[in-house]
């Protein structure tokens, strides 16, 4: 696992949110997934400290919390850049040039799949199908959806994220 440069603490607002989430579920474990999202939103990823914080506040053993968190691809387990680019390279996107787009990002920003740019601006995650085969290639930047990507418009889109 990654070691943290400095100790992370959940903010008071995040703790309050986790406590509120807990009330909506019959058991602490049921509240684990949304609580982990809160922690991920706070830190950008799920560090060991994030797991410990969630585990402490929900009363769920931390090994269980980590087991649940690592099962799902949408929880991140290393620090990411300010903007997370999730590009699909599954069959439709691949046929319509997604792999070329991957090369483009590498050349333009030095952004490797699974990596983060040196200026911490972008992280690239290669993801499986996002259900946009009809308008492939497609990607998510943070929570924004972008489709019909070309060599040109992908750079235009990304330049909007500073």
């Amino acid at each position: 696992m990654n070691t943290m440069p400095e100790k992370q603490m959940l903010s008071a607002a995040a703790l309050k949110e986790i406590q509120d989430i807990r009330k909506n579920y019959p058991t602490a474990r049921a509240a684990l997934l949304p609580a982990l999202y809160v922690a991920q939103r706070e830190f950008g990823w799920l560090s060991p400290e994030a797991y410990e914080a969630v585990s402490d506040h929900l009363g769920v053993p931390k090994a269980i919390a980590r087991g649940v968190g690592t099962f799902y691809a949408m929880y991140k387990h290393k620090p990411l850049g300010r903007h997370v680019v999730q590009l699909c390279t599954n069959v439709s996107c691949m046929i319509l040039g997604a792999e070329r787009l991957v090369d483009l990002l590498k050349n333009k920003y030095g952004l490797e799949p699974g990596g983060t740019t040196a200026d911490n601006r972008f992280s690239l995650v290669i993801m499986e199908c996002i259900g946009a085969c009809g308008t492939a290639p497609a990607m998510l930047v943070n929570d924004d959806f972008h489709e019909n990507l070309t060599d040109k418009n992908i750079i235009e889109i990304l330049e909007r994220y500073t």
Binding site: M1, P48, Y51, G59, V60, P61, K62, A63, I64, R66, G67, T70, F71
Partner: protein, 862 residues
């Protein structure tokens, strides 16, 4: 009645079971990997697939309930094909390092592949590579061998309740690891080792030192550590214990063990074991012969008895020794020396509490079986963490929570923190007031049952100011009301009383309040014991006022019975208790002390006073397996055989008598044999042919053990009867003395009762030392801030009785305003800080709550 047909054999079932269990009950083997009888059904490995008529696909026998009229086949060509396929998949990533693997010979995967194939692999891809993990002191993990059956995870979470390991990632990337990804850092119970079917999780203690088939002796005996009395099987080769494992189906622990029981056996073969008797010559302990040592002890005891009378001699018995040892020891003192001066460290709370509870409820020893805790609807825990003192009993409390029971705790209990405890933690200072408030609140809610007028009169006299308490403590009105509501509405409450309650200032009053709560809610009391034979020692009459069979000395009728049996008149006057012995040694009225398997310098409060008193004795005889702090002061030290080298019986805290069996041969004598030799040198009479003969005498004379035999004990489930009648006759007045309030704002001592240690035995067990190598002082982070202390500081903790120096560890589970110190490691025992002040009712020392001062004296050097 359900009838199923498996492989043409008709099987009648009394109750609903799975097809797998039905088949096993009829002796039909169905292969499994993920199934384990201690664990919840899982259906993951698919090896137990069977054909069921009228069902479309193969079914997993481990999850399918047997239904009436079902026709099942377990061994067809189609099934064999599937099993071969599954095993081929499992072997894709398996390193096939059987020649090197310790599991070979008892590996379930190896056995299955040997039976079902495949003989070759069609996979050309590279195998998964994972480095062997040796981060943990007692467990080695080789996850290349893992077959992802998740038995370890289900054991750790679902049965042990530690939840230290989990399945990480998913699909082909999934693997099992602890939270840290590296070191386990867990309770080190090793129950994951027990259930691992392959060589993925194994004990490091016997690594590469033997093969399973080389084990000649497998000796079933009882764990020497705590009062729960778990069954353990010692596997022995060439008179060395190679491994200790549990047995599924054993009465107390049913296949479970804790770290002490599983990994704490190496003290038996420790090089520091005493091999020859030692005798003090010109001030130095020198090795000598048995003849000289025993002759000397016999001669000196005879002289002292002749000159000063038998009451100038006293004996301290051992809660680690067998019933047989303790019976012979008290008989030696009473018959050969003619004194009732016999006691033990059970005086440190257990004996007094038992007498107190018996006086109120008619029975003092735990009158219920440990596994019954899991079936209670509510468990109230007071006086410390049961999961560290009696780990296997702690599991039953965890199981109670898992079954939907309510766990209520007074004070913070770390080992139950993930079991939704309802906790009232007002801090050590206010605990007595909290108990008073609880008694009054419960009284309001439930009223008095009316069955015990003596107790009710005392309960009516309890006073407390509820509003004042809520104002002064962090407890809220709602919190208290919720707690009272849960406790008051429970149908089958159990009350678990730990030693922290009994070793605190005002312990007698607190125990009275807990008894009052128990009376009002009609609960069942469990009195925790941290030694393997603490109960048995009392049963054997190793107390100044008790005869064997837990009968009072003051009863002429019983005294007569023993006088007839032992053919000697017995002294009528009760003897000195263990604290009075120290006092009598101090003032010179006690001339000789015989200590069997005990270390009073370390295990009694105020080491300085104890040491000074013992030095004044004319004769100090210490019989032990190691040269202890007390042994170093002795005139004669007699080496005894350890628990693994002798036969006998232990009686656990629920009064279960179990056989201790010799597992290892070693030259020497058991404690009772040494005593018999001394007695023979003094009076020329005593003679027993073996432990069995001693037990036969116990069964003849003790009313509790009447007509019991080793044969009967070996069949299991011998709990001596307790027909609800007080063993000690009519009730005396219930002593209730409210203590003066403790001074606020001081830092006080609290004993850190460690999961990994018990003291004299555990500190000579290398594996336990590796897990927990040295004493530390645990302090709550907020308390540390107020004292300007940081982690890694070295502090000097001083009290009126002594001082010790320890590194600081910050621990948010520690109580505020106290410093937690263990009484395990030489030179830094917590008890040396405590005073000899005894509770007026329980006659137990007040250790927790001893005021201490703390000064920072440096920093730990890395």
């Amino acid at each position: 009645m359900i009838t199923v047909t498996i492989n043409g054999k008709e099987i009648k079932l009394e109750k609903a079971v799975t097809v797998l269990e039905a088949a096993r009950s009829a002796g039909i083997k169905i292969p499994t990997l993920c199934y384990h009888e201690q664990l919840e059904r899982y259906g993951g490995c698919r090896l137990c697939l069977v054909e069921v008529e009228k069902m479309p696909r193969l079914q997993t026998a481990c999850t399918l309930m047997a239904a009436d009229g079902m026709i099942v086949r377990t061994e067809t060509e189609a099934i064999a094909d599937v099993r071969r396929g599954i095993l081929e998949f499992l072997l894709i990533n398996h390193p096939l390092d059987c020649p090197y693997c310790d599991k070979a010979g008892e590996c379930e995967l190896q056995d299955l592949v040997e039976k079902y194939g495949p003989t070759t692999s069609r996979f050309k891809e590279k195998k998964r590579k994972v480095t062997e993990n040796l981060q943990d002191p007692v467990i080695v993990r080789n996850m290349e061998r893992c077959v992802m059956c998740t038995r370890c995870v289900r054991m750790c979470e679902g049965v042990q309740g530690a939840a230290a390991i989990g399945v990480i990632n998913r699909g082909g990337h999934s693997h099992i690891e602890p939270f840290s990804g590296n070191k386990y850092d867990c309770e080190y119970c090793g129950n994951c080792v027990s259930v691992c079917p392959v060589g993925a999780i194994m004990s490091r203690l016997h690594r590469h030192s033997y093969r399973p088939w080389q084990v000649k002796e497998k000796v079933e005996t009882v764990c020497p550590y705590c009062g729960v009395g778990c069954t353990v099987v010692a596997q022995v080769r060439d008179d060395v214990i190679k491994r200790v494992i549990p047995r599924i189906g054993s009465p107390v622990n049913n296949g479970m063990l804790c770290s002490r029981g599983r990994f704490g056996y190496e003290f038996v073969g420790h090089p520091d074991r005493l091999t020859a008797p030692l005798i003090r010559k010109n001030g130095v302990l020198e090795e000598t012969t048995w003849e000289e040592a025993i002759g000397f002890v016999a001669k000196r005891l005879t002289e002292i008895k002749g000159k000063h009378g038998g009451n100038a001699v006293a004996g301290i018995a051992s809660p680690r020794c067998t019933n047989e040892d303790n019976y012979i020891f008290q008989k030696f003192l009473r018959v050969t020396l003619g004194t009732n001066n016999i006691d033990s460290t059970a005086r440190m709370g257990y004996a007094g509490a038992q007498a107190f509870i018996e006086n109120i409820f008619g029975q003092g020893a735990t009158g219920n079986i440990i596994s019954g805790l899991a079936n209670s609807d509510t468990v109230l825990v007071v006086g410390g963490d049961p999961t560290t003192v009696n780990p296997i009993l702690g599991l039953q409390i965890r199981a109670c929570s898992r079954k939907g029971g309510t766990i209520l705790t007074i004070g913070h209990v770390r080992g139950l923190q993930h079991f939704s405890p309802v906790e009232l933690d007002p801090g050590a200072m206010l605990e007595t007031t909290l108990l008073e408030c609880l008694v009054l609140s419960l009284l309001d809610r439930k009223g008095l049952p009316g069955s015990n007028p003596a107790l009710e009169a005392k309960i009516k006299a309890v006073h407390a100011d509820n509003a004042e308490f809520l104002k002064n403590s962090c407890i809220t009105k709602e919190g208290l009301a919720d707690f009272v509501d849960k406790l008051g509405s429970s149908g089958t409450p159990a009350v678990v009383i730990g030693k922290d309650l009994l070793q605190t200032a005002g312990s007698g009053y607190r125990l009275f309040l807990v008894c009052a709560i128990n009376y009002i809610v009609n609960g069942r009391v469990y009195l925790l014991s941290d030694h393997a034979n603490e109960q048995g020692l009392l049963d054997m009459g190793c107390a100044p006022d008790l005869l064997p069979g837990y009968r009072p000395l003051s009863y002429a009728e019983f005294r007569k019975r023993y006088e007839t049996a032992w053919k000697t008149p017995l002294p009528e006057k009760p003897g000195l208790n263990i604290f009075e012995m120290i006092g009598a040694a101090e003032n010179g009225t006690l001339k000789a002390l015989y200590v069997m398997g005990e270390n009073p310098v370390f295990n009694l409060p105020d080491a300085a006073t104890v040491t000074a008193s013992l030095k004044k004795l004319e004769l100090l005889v210490v019989q032990d397996i190691f040269l202890t702090e007390t042994g170093r002061l002795a005139d004669v030290v007699l080496p005894a055989l350890s628990w693994a080298e002798k036969d006998g019986t232990f009686t656990n805290m629920e009064r279960r008598i179990q056989r201790v069996r010799k597992a290892v041969n070693r030259e020497g004598m058991a404690d009772w044999q040494i005593i018999t030799e001394v007695a023979r040198n003094m009076s020329g009479k005593a003679h027993y042919t073996g432990a069995v003969a001693v037990f036969e005498e116990i069964a003849r004379v003790s009313p509790l053990h009447r007509d019991l035999s080793y044969d009967e004990i070996e069949q299991g489930n011998v709990i001596y009867p307790y027909k609800g009648e007080p063993l000690r006759g009519s009730a005396e007045d219930i002593a209730v003395q409210k203590p003066a309030a403790a001074a606020e704002g001081t830092i006080s001592l609290a004993i850190d009762r460690l999961l990994f240690h018990s003291g004299t035995l555990s500190r000579k067990s290398p594996a336990l030392i590796k897990i927990y190598p040295e004493a530390v002082a645990r302090i709550h982070p907020e308390t540390a801030v107020s004292l300007s202390l940081a982690e890694g500081d070295v502090i000097r903790i001083s009290s009126q009785s002594g001082k010790i120096e320890l590194p600081v560890v910050l621990d948010r589970h520690a109580g505020r305003s106290s410093v937690l110190v263990p009484n395990i490691f030489e030179g830094t025992g917590a008890l040396r800080l405590a005073g000899m002040g005894l509770d007026p009712v329980l006659k137990a020392p007040a250790i927790n709550g001893t005021p201490v001062t703390i000064e920072r004296i440096g920093k730990v050097t890395p």
